[in-house]
C-alpha cells in the first residue's frame, strides 16, 4: 500500500482537482520496527563511558563497556524485531479519518482565522486563493 506519486506536490494537485483524501483499493499489513531498549541503554552507557574517560575513572569505563557489550549480545538473541499493524486496523483508522474529513465543512481563505476553520480548505481552484 505504498503511495504512488506521479507529480510534484501530488497531494496539492489532488486537492486542486477536488480529489484529495482517497481510499486505496485495498489495505495491507504494515510492518514496523518493534520497540527496543538498546538505543536508550547505549545512550546511558555511552555517556557514562565518556564521563569516565574524561575523569580517568577506569572502573566506570570498564563497567560501561561491559554493559554495552552485554546489551549488544542480548540484542542478537531477540527474534521479535518487528511488529505488524494489521490491514484491518489500517483500514479502520484510515476510514475513520476519511469519515472525519467528509463530515467537516470546508472553508475558504477569508474564513481561515475564524472558528469555522477546522483544517479543511475548499479546493484552491474554486477560490481558496483570494
Amino acid at each position: 500500500m505504498l503511495p504512488e506519486i506521479y507529480s510534484i506536490d501530488a497531494f496539492m494537485t489532488e486537492k486542486d482537482r477536488g480529489q484529495g483524501w482517497q481510499a486505496p483499493d485495498r489495505y495491507e499489513d504494515i510492518e514496523m520496527p518493534a520497540n527496543s531498549a538498546l538505543g536508550v541503554v547505549i545512550a546511558i552507557t555511552g555517556l557514562a563511558m565518556a564521563f569516565g574517560l574524561v575523569w580517568y575513572m577506569w572502573w566506570l569505563v570498564i563497567a560501561a563497556g561491559l554493559v554495552t557489550l552485554v546489551a549488544i549480545i542480548a540484542r542478537g538473541f531477540v527474534r521479535q524485531t518487528t511488529r505488524t499493524i494489521s490491514a484491518s486496523e489500517v483500514q479502520r483508522t484510515h476510514e475513520h479519518w476519511l469519515e472525519q474529513v467528509r463530515r467537516t465543512t470546508p472553508i475558504n481563505r477569508s474564513q481561515e482565522q475564524t472558528t469555522a476553520n477546522h483544517g479543511l480548505p475548499v479546493p484552491p481552484i474554486e477560490g481558496a486563493v483570494q
Binding site: 506521479y6 507529480s7 510534484i8 494537485t13 549480545i73 542478537g76 538473541f77 527474534r79 484552491p124
Partner: protein, 221 residues
C-alpha cells in the same frame, strides 16, 4: 499552483524483475528466503566494512609517514620478532581457511555439527592469534617500546592493536552466534549473522596481510 505542473515519473518494471543478490557468499536455492529478506543486511555490512577500510588506510598512511620518527627510541629492528609475526600470520590465514569451510558447511550441509566444528576451530585459531599478539606487545613493552615513547610507536600502537581489537570483537561475535545457534537453531538471523561475520573475518585477514607486509616485513628489511 496550477494543474500543468504534473510530471509523470516512469515506473521501471525491469528493476523489480532483476533483483540482485547480495555481495559475498550466496547461500543457494535452499536458503532463498534468507537471501531475499536479508539482502540489505549483508549489503549494509559491506558498507560498514568499507568505511572501516578507510580507517585502516589512514592508519597505514600515518604509520608509513612516521617510520623515521623514532625520536631516538627503539625502532622496528629492536622491537619486532619475525618468528612470532610469522606464527600470527599462519594462525590467521588458517582461521580464514577454516571459516571458509564453515561457510561451505552452512551452504551444503543440513547437519549442524560440521558447521559448529569449523566455527569452533576458527575461534580457537583467532584466540591463539590474540595470545601471540599480546605476547608480542608484552615483549615490546619490556624493550621500551611503549606508545608514548615516539611518534613512530604511537602510529604502531594505533594501527596494530586496532586490528587486534577487531579480532577480539569478531571472536566475541562468533561466541554470541554459537549461543544463538544453540538456542534457536539454524534460523535466518543466525545464517545471515554467519555470512556477515565471514565478511569481517576475511577482511581482518586481508588487513593483517597489509600489517605483516608493511609493518613487520617492511620494518625488518
Amino acid at each position: 499552483m496550477s494543474q500543468n505542473n504534473v510530471i509523470p515519473i516512469e515506473h521501471n518494471a525491469t528493476q523489480d524483475a532483476q533483483k540482485t543478490r547480495h555481495p559475498g557468499l550466496n547461500l543457494g536455492p535452499a536458503h532463498a528466503h534468507e537471501e531475499d529478506t536479508r539482502e540489505e543486511m549483508v549489503f549494509g555490512f559491506w558498507v560498514f566494512m568499507m568505511s572501516d577500510l578507510i580507517i585502516f588506510g589512514l592508519l597505514f598512511a600515518t604509520y608509513v609517514t612516521m617510520l623515521g620518527g623514532t625520536a631516538g627510541g627503539p625502532g622496528p629492528s629492536e622491537l619486532f620478532e619475525m618468528k612470532s609475526a610469522f606464527i600470527e600470520t599462519m594462525l590467521l590465514l588458517a582461521s580464514s581457511f577454516t571459516f571458509g569451510m564453515a561457510s561451505l558447511a552452512l551452504k551444503y550441509r543440513e547437519d549442524r555439527t560440521r558447521l559448529v566444528f569449523w566455527l569452533v576451530v576458527t575461534l580457537l585459531l583467532g584466540v591463539a592469534f590474540l595470545f601471540f599478539e599480546l605476547k608480542d606487545f608484552h615483549t615490546m613493552f619490556d624493550n621500551g617500546g611503549v606508545p608514548s615513547r615516539s611518534g613512530y610507536l604511537s602510529a604502531f600502537f594505533s594501527l596494530v592493536p586496532l586490528h587486534g581489537l577487531h579480532v577480539t570483537g569478531a571472536c566475541i561475535w562468533l561466541v554470541a552466534l554459537l549461543g544463538q545457534l544453540a538456542v534457536y537453531g539454524l534460523d535466518a538471523p543466525v545464517k545471515t549473522g554467519i555470512l556477515r561475520l565471514a565478511i569481517l573475518w576475511h577482511f581482518l585477514d586481508i588487513v593483517w596481510i597489509g600489517i605483516f607486509s608493511l609493518v613487520y616485513l617492511g620494518g625488518l628489511s
